[in-house]
Symmetry: C2
Subunit: 203 residues, 2 copies
């Protein structure tokens, strides 16, 4: 299942593994070692990294630094994208923001659910979102919950270029959308647990 994903979806994992190797002073890595770190096959690693010409040599391994630079460039690390978080509460937004900043994405503002705006620095009333975005455009909207009367299309018309949807309803928009409903993920996990139990029972 993992193997059939497109290689660019694995780039952030390569990015993490390579960064750890660099931090530990490791300058060469084989496809077998990378495969072990990523829990995929060495042939998938070789296919994934095929486009980064000049960073690897048969029987010699990959140059960790060159590969890290190539993958960082592909991922646009350093592009300084900005994001707003819509819905949720301040504690959740703060956690997300910390993780995003580690990947070069700055959270410019978060809009807690109505009634939860505690006036802390960095948060704005959710009713102000249209005005805020028209004055201070952002690249990404992370939607925990969407206020009444607000749609993904409105956000796109306000300049949003990509959406990470955490609500229970799929969003279809003319920009890249990652739909990740929490309820669906937990159901998929339950399904895999049951399938594994059924397999064990059949043996």
């Amino acid at each position: 299942m993992k193997e059939s994903q497109q290689s660019y979806q694995r780039y952030p994992r390569y990015f993490r593994v390579l960064r750890t190797l660099l931090v530990n002073g490791i300058m060469k890595v084989s496809s077998v070692e990378l495969a072990r770190h990523l829990n995929i096959t060495p042939s998938t690693v070789r296919a994934d990294l095929n486009r980064f010409s000049g960073v690897g040599q048969q029987g010699y391994g990959y140059n960790v630094k060159l590969l890290y630079t190539g993958i960082s460039r592909e991922l646009g690390a350093g592009d300084n994208m900005s994001a707003v978080i819509i819905g949720g509460d301040a504690a959740f937004a703060k956690r997300l923001a910390e993780r995003f900043e580690g990947r070069g994405v700055t959270v410019s503002c978060f809009f807690p659910d109505i009634g939860e705006d505690d006036g802390k620095t960095g948060s704005c009333p959710i009713t102000e979102i249209s005005r805020y975005l028209s004055e201070a455009p952002a690249d990404i909207a992370v939607i925990v919950s969407l206020p009444e009367g607000m749609s993904a299309d409105t956000l796109v018309s306000l300049g949003i270029k990509g959406i990470w949807n955490m609500t229970q309803n799929d969003i279809i928009a003319p920009v890249p959308v990652i739909n990740l409903p929490v309820g669906d993920i937990i159901m998929n996990l339950c399904y895999e647990i049951r399938r594994k139990e059924a397999e064990a029972h059949e043996l």
Copy 2:
């Protein structure tokens, strides 16, 4: 990309769409309509639902109720799985718990990060997790952060059957694991935004 996913990974989305149809009193649905709701092709819908024999008829459509029952059974809705949430704070855990309960998964306890245990109902000190699980087993562990000295293998030895990993490090365990590092998701979204911009630039 969506199309290449295994069909069971789409079951929770069918589940949501079919539930909405039922609530609205719609008893028949065509593969074309389902495809539109799910943003996939009608032929993928037909392939996905091929195994639910007797619920559909060429040129007539699917029986919504039978299909909903079949998919619910496949997903194990009603199996009453239990979960614990490890790390994070109480507000985040409360939100997750609400979403889970809508899908039949009960959060039996959450273990906020050290220093954040506010003694509210439903939370326990994170240092008590081993003792808690050995006394009150749970099926699923949602890991927001893993305390020092605790590993996924320890959780499995304490009876955990599936893991949803939200930390920055991939987890490999002898049970089903869904690795969803927040940093990777935001990087994938940045990548898709940049790719779309590059395509538009080339036109």
